[in-house]
């Protein structure tokens, strides 16, 4: 079964060469951003089982700081990327330190509260563009502004960043850190009794997750050159990450990528069919997906495959050595 990730990587590498239309290439880039942010969410929400409903705060910070640096000092967008990551780390620390000591849903509630608060503050801050938002350089002043007419260069930059996030997750999965996070998700009390420093590891996972989510936000601003409070800090940004990860399989390496490959084109299609008036429909659609996952396979599509479909296929083939 080891060939599958490589086949997936190869398919992603050649995709923009096979689908040459701007529509498909743009969509491909969007899939990669969403896969990156959902994979980042997955570290804390999937592996560690600590469901953040406010990851938009990191996405937004990652998107806003580069464009703020441009607004203030005309710096190229990529210069602000580390600042977005640093601010996200600080936010994660401030939210995580007090709430991870408590049992129950304090963490989820704190994330959503902070994200909404930040969205309101940003919407009302003139120097951040208020409700209208901020814009990056309209014309490239040099290659360093990373303004390209085609989506293809963005696509490959995004693919590299996604690769990095997945590589880090894979490393984590195979180390003590990953085992500890999964133990924490399964049973915190038992994890503690085996010497797992539960609060500390949750905090590490949250901070790592926040940093990668900020990177996804930076990718977004670099490509679109424009950000407003809703697309940076809006609740839908957070929910999108959760849905994508949960659909593909939260707590699995490739689940979020799979979820993005399935969901983003579907959304693009429905948006095209229904035009701009489909926002309400989006919520209904998300609600439906959440219910289906919760009812039939909380492990998402990857678990559905591993636990139900693959064994069925193996049996039909008469294969005796199932994994």
């Amino acid at each position: 079964m080891r060939w599958r990730p490589f086949a997936l990587a190869a398919a992603l590498l050649v995709y923009p060469l096979l689908f040459r239309g701007a529509f498909y290439q743009d969509m491909g880039a969007l899939v990669l951003i969403q896969a990156t942010s959902a994979s980042a969410w997955n570290i804390v929400g999937g592996y560690a089982g600590q469901v953040s409903v406010g990851h938009a705060v990191f996405f937004g910070a990652g998107a806003y700081l580069p464009v703020l640096f441009y607004e203030l000092w005309q710096l190229p967008l990529f210069v602000g990327v580390p600042a977005g990551i640093a601010v996200s780390l600080a936010f994660a620390f401030i939210i995580g330190l007090p709430t991870f000591r408590l049992r129950g849903h304090y963490f989820s509630m704190a994330t959503i509260a902070v994200a909404e608060l930040v969205r309101l503050i940003v919407s009302n801050s003139g120097f951040l563009g208020g409700a209208i938002g901020l814009m990056g350089p309209a014309r490239p002043r040099g290659w360093w502004d990373l303004v390209f007419r085609s989506a293809v260069p963005y696509y490959y930059i995004f693919l590299a960043v996604l690769g990095l996030v997945l590589l880090a997750t894979w490393q984590m999965e195979r180390s003590r850190f990953g085992y500890y996070l999964r133990a924490i998700r399964a049973d915190e009390r038992a994890a503690k009794s085996l010497g797992v420093p539960v609060s500390r590891y949750k905090l590490y996972a949250f901070m790592l997750s926040a940093a990668f989510t900020a990177a996804a936000g930076s990718l977004y601003i670099i490509k679109t050159g424009f950000i407003d409070p809703e697309s940076g800090f809006g609740i839908l940004v957070s929910v999108q990450m959760i849905i994508i990860a949960a659909l593909g399989g939260a707590g699995t390496l490739l689940g979020p990528l799979l979820g993005a490959i399935l969901l983003v084109p579907l959304q693009t299609a429905t948006n095209t069919w229904f035009g701009g008036g489909a926002t309400g429909l989006t919520y209904i659609f998300y609600g439906g997906i959440i219910m289906l996952i919760a009812r039939f396979e909380p492990g998402g599509l990857i678990e559905l495959w591993r636990l139900r479909i693959a064994p069925l296929l193996l049996r039909r083939r008469g294969d005796a050595h199932a994994p």
Partner: protein, 243 residues
């Protein structure tokens, strides 16, 4: 003295589940802890293991005062415990469950894996190492509880009904396993309702009733003490309060 509990109490609201319990355990002992349902045995274990903070009293382990320390710190110091209701990591394989314990003393994955495989062999779980722990029945899960704690390299192991629910044949194997663990120098405190287990393992038993220690000594003598008989029969007379 490896473990010393001084006047340990634990209240839930106004109810005292453990009420001024004191005991001393020497390195290398196997001590049985018995008592009727609801006597406070598990609560006392939770206090010793750092899972619950005592509301009064002190607990010393190997000379350190561990009363206020976290459960993780207890594990690091060498206090391991099993849960009466197995707290299995069901989504992980049996091997991965044990590796979580092994990581405490072996931070590298390969070393933790090797250690966990060794322990699975000793505890008779090698055959299911790569299965998800969800598939294990109660006897398997109880055994996994022991394996996981053993992997943390404890000096003191607290077994909370780790041998309950086994068939007579399985029981003999489990008793032999506990003896083998003891022979390697691990000190044990064993909570068990089955007298056969207590008589087969412990030289000394401590009897709990309503949060207090009511008797202590060699098992044969203790089970004959009037206070102990009354604690058990009194309950039987009134009917068991809890199923």
């Amino acid at each position: 003295m490896l473990l010393e509990a001084k006047e340990v109490s634990r209240a839930f609201g106004s109810f005292l589940a453990v009420d001024g319990a004191s005991l001393e355990i020497e390195e290398g002992e196997i001590v049985g802890l018995i008592g009727p349902n609801g006597a406070g045995k598990s609560t006392f274990f939770n206090c010793i293991a750092g899972d619950l903070a005592p509301t009064a009293g002190r607990i010393l382990f190997a000379g350190h005062d561990v009363t206020e320390r976290s459960a993780e710190a207890h594990a690091r110091l060498g206090i391991g415990r099993t849960f009466q209701v197995p707290a299995t990591f069901t989504d992980m394989t049996v091997l991965e469950n044990v590796m979580v314990g092994a990581f405490l003393r072996h931070p590298e994955r390969a070393a933790a894996r090797a250690r966990a495989l060794e322990i699975l062999k000793r505890t008779g779980l090698s055959g299911v190492a790569f299965q998800r722990a969800r598939g294990l029945g109660t006897p398997g899960r109880k055994r996994l509880e022991i394996a996981r704690v053993l992997a943390t390299g404890p000096r003191l192991m607290l077994l909370d009904e780790a041998l309950a629910g086994l068939t007579p044949a399985e029981l003999q194997g489990a008793i032999a396993l506990v003896r083998a663990i003891h022979e390697e120098g691990v000190t044990l405190v064993v909570v068990e309702h089955i007298m056969e287990v207590i008589l087969g393992l412990a030289r000394r038993v401590i009897v709990f009733n309503e949060g207090r220690i009511i008797a202590e000594g060699p098992p044969q003598r203790v089970v004959g003490e009037p206070a102990v008989i009354e604690a058990y029969l009194g309950r039987a007379h009134l009917g068991r309060r809890k199923a």
